[in-house]
Symmetry: C2
Subunit: 213 residues, 2 copies
């Protein structure tokens, strides 16, 4: 008989999911994140599902200030280009948002997808499945971090190829996520962009359908 979880267990998981946040630099504390704690985060990532059991992930743990500074330079360039895509009020609002915590977070984590040269079971019709496996690993890590009262911020305003060069990544590896990790002064009650009115929360009727669209 497989292990049976209880209703209390399920409610606790729901709380962890509900209280998880994307954390930016104005909330990270300099409190060190020990290797033993970081190991729990990476263990969670390694328990993610992967297509064809391919485990196509690579993790680069970054504690070096020099490396972080190089990555932040890439963010700054990408952020200027990103902001330029928004006009009017959105452009003004964009400029006030703190969107990363690269230097403030004690640990950065670059997560890559490493394609394999031979066919992968389950990836023959949907070639993105390997990338999606890496995202599952990131989401596992993010939830585990929240359960350890550690914040994670996913920085996506960044040139993936610049990060590859900075980290001396193999040619075939692809950056999937760049994470800032550390203890925080608080976890906000709601997503910051919801509170700021950047986007409205969608309703279930907007996004859930029965048997067909």
């Amino acid at each position: 008989m497989s292990h049976q979880f209880t209703a209390d267990d399920s409610r606790l998981l729901s709380d962890i999911m509900r209280l998880r946040r994307d954390v930016r630099g104005n909330h990270f504390l300099p409190t060190p994140v020990d290797d033993s704690v970081l190991d729990k985060l990476l263990e969670a990532a390694l328990h993610a599902p992967s297509v064809g059991y391919s485990q196509p992930w690579q993790f680069v743990v970054i504690r070096s200030d020099k490396v972080k500074q190089q990555v932040q330079q890439s963010f700054l360039r990408a952020n200027i280009a990103g902001q330029a895509q928004f006009t009017g009020d959105k452009n003004a609002q964009y400029s006030k948002l703190k969107l990363e915590g690269i230097l403030e977070a004690p640990v950065n984590l670059a997560v890559f997808y490493q394609p394999q040269s031979t066919p992968v079971l389950g990836q023959t019709s949907m070639p993105d499945m390997g990338r999606f496996s890496v995202v599952c690993a990131i989401q596992n890590l993010w939830l585990m971090a929240r359960s350890l009262n550690i914040g994670v911020g996913w920085v996506s305003i960044i040139d993936p190829n610049a990060v590859k060069q900075i980290l001396n990544a193999p040619e075939q590896s692809e950056l999937i996520g760049y994470l800032c990790i550390g203890y925080v002064d608080e976890f906000l009650d709601e997503p910051e962009l919801k509170t700021a009115g950047w986007e409205q929360q969608k309703t279930k009727n907007d996004v859930i359908f029965k048997d067909s669209f």
Copy 2:
């Protein structure tokens, strides 16, 4: 002060992650999955992070046998093409694997990415971020299912455009994942493809690096 989780909470989350499995048709039970239970799974998905708070997901809950049968036809075609990519022992081993539970699972769930026509904050440098948000939602749902002792199998051997047609999906929507959901006779101790020796487990040294590759 934000809610602080305990070491016990973190261990429970670790157990849920460790005991989660990809479930195929030979393990699903016909026991109905009530709407109230399904709602908990969808709630978990809706608590996933999304780039720029874009919530770019669409979920189609499938209980119709007719729809399931059409999707299974697409699986059967894609599976023949998939198997053909493997040669020798792998080809023989492939033919013995049960790789989906479309008809056996009481509920199927098709999960789509709906791109938005205007720029998305955080997606300006990494265009896949919206797709990755949808994958985070799937992983949340998968973990919530395990905590409710419900199995999930992700079917990726399928033609995404065929599924779009069957479900009458809007032109711009993209299929990200097709899930089979139901109670199970057991959760296997290990990933089936690990036990079968299809792939070896990678070591931490294979996939974790410090500051640079």
